[in-house]
Amino acid sequence: MNTEHPCVVTIDHRSRPRVLFSGDQLVEVDLPVGTRVVYPRPTMAPLGDVDAAIRYAISHPYGCEPLYALLRPGMKITIALDDISLPLPKMQTPDIRERVLNIVLPLLADYGVTDIHLIVATCLHRPMSGDEIKRMVGTKTFDRFWPDRLYNHDAEKPGGLTYLGTTDAGEIVEISTRAAESDLIIYVNVNFVPMDGGHKSVAVGLCGYRSLKHHHNPYTIRNSHSYMDPEKSELNHRITRMGQLVNKHKKVFHIETTVNNRIFDKPLEFLAKNEDTLSQTELRAQKTLIRTLQVLPQPARQAIFTRVPSPYGVTGVFAGETEATHKHTIERSYEQYLVPIQGQADILVSGVPYISPYNVGSFLNPLLVACMTQGYIFNLYKGVPLVKKGGTMIVFHPCTDHFDKRHHPTYVEFFHRILTKTRDAVELHKKYEAEYAANPAYIQLYRTGLSYHPAHPFFMWYWGENGRQHVGRVIVVGADNEYIPKILGYETAPTFADALRMAKDTAPPNPSVTCLHMVPMLMAEVTP
């Protein structure tokens, strides 16, 4: 009897090919009989009245007094906001952050609070452009606060960070000076994956390199199993320690929100469905889309998926003290994403999509392909990894050698000059990171342009460190060149059949194969 969850489909002789992302292309993959395909859970119903939910949450918070009770005339408040690295792609307007601000800002005005700064908590991410911020917070708030009282966090501004203390484990905690000098920090979060939110919001979003390097390093990632499972994540443990120290010094009121997995609007909804259940109309649309993407130039392909905002529905609003609030956020997040699975696979198959938190508005460059493969995709589990220790990942991506000039100029040298010397994350961390992170030209690009901080490419490589330690081989299907996969330490195969044959060389007889059918987002709860 099949005891698998309804979201887990086993391929048989009658099954249609599965359609997976290969960057911004779609490929039909004929999976072997017996392969388990893990689909996202059905989309959770959104809240009926989001504004009412926000009002209720801030008036009935977890673990602290209601927001209005924390306010007094003349106080200094910093509102920090998650940047647009989530949700992915951008959500239809009004963005949930705008909705929260439209309720919180009048409340502050009612209580005589006028000294308000809004900081986009970008940490070492690229600064958001004015237009991006406007879209996120809404025209009314933008016109009122930008640019003097609404701006990106600048982790390199001289005097822009204030030291709050050092944890018992020796972690230095410093955050934005404006936030550190405020009587109250309100953090507005969008929780897209379970690693977001909680202590990460302030202790990471508003910190600098000196604090970040305590957890954004290969040792921490190696001990995170996975970083999507906070309880078993060393990353989360370290951030929690640092966040608790922040909370000892500062009053922080969190407003956390969750969204469902409705990434595609009606015309593309079939991409999230089991291919065997598609109607004839949907099948025709699928074929047409595949062929269209084959003939379109790359920018047009990317535009199809990223220009149209996602119709995400808000599924929860939680507010209050950091940990008390975040517990509920994580529960709601898991409710949408977790698919229970029994047993690990010898071979894990997945498409690598066109998008990641670090290429909003730009191309998924080769370093981000690695970050997605052994980072995000590998880490989309709770319990034990989807793939067995020493197993093989087969992924689909063209691995094109292209880096966005505005957003990723700091990645190029890392990729082509440093990563070609060593792939060893510890060596990279010890030998190259500190000097590279202080590169004045790259810091200038981060501070005045739209570039990621020079430390960021190192973090992107570390992000796949637990995957690299666990997975035996990665085979890329559909790469348009040989050298990029080689730099990443990946093997290449022209077709999936070739990749499968290669994977079987080092797999036990009759290997188990599992395919992760994303996008939309999903996570596997794997029991051995």
Binding site: D154, E413, A438, P440, A441, Q444, T448
Partner: protein, 224 residues
Amino acid sequence: MSAAAYFDVDGTLVGTNLIPPTLAYLLNQASPLDSARRFGRLLLGTPALVAAEMQDRRLFNEELFSHFRGMSEDRMVVLSAEVYKNVVKPNLLPGAKDLIDQCKRAGMRVVLITGSLDWTMAPLAEYLGADHCISNRLELKDGYCTGKLLRPVVAGPGKATLIVEDARAHGHDLMKCHAYSDSFSDVPMMSVVGHPICIRPDARLRKLAEAYHWATVDISRRTP
């Protein structure tokens, strides 16, 4: 210090080239007649300057500075303060000092390397906090400029040699050094360091930078 940041100045940190400071010197002579005479000579020499620039930046510099022949050292010293105040400083790009401060915070030795005259560059180097300035120097005889440049002339490929010598003298690892410029004529100096970086690159340098993934930094506005 294991690394240095070498900055070209004209067009890179300052939004002008060598011509405006030169004009300022020539047009502020002791008498209007002398100024007019020198300016007239410069105009007549324009075709030669253009030809020199097309051939070699070093020839251009030598041709340009030949117009200083006969100026007294005293006058040059007095004028240099005015040229800095009225021509150089107002054209300093808004983010130039921020970038140099960033280099110093990163523990780098900051060196200006420029075809401009040492008299003009000295106050700029001091304002920017540069540790050293490699610039052109006019030959003097009996307190008057001969119109010739002292060796080595700072221009084009010669800058590369000067950087290598400077790095060696100060124990810098060239692979860790940075070189900033706006001009294709500075490709040699950018090629001897590990980190070539463009600022306001001209068309040919931009093309090269794109091919080799050299970073381009914008200092046209101050950092927030």
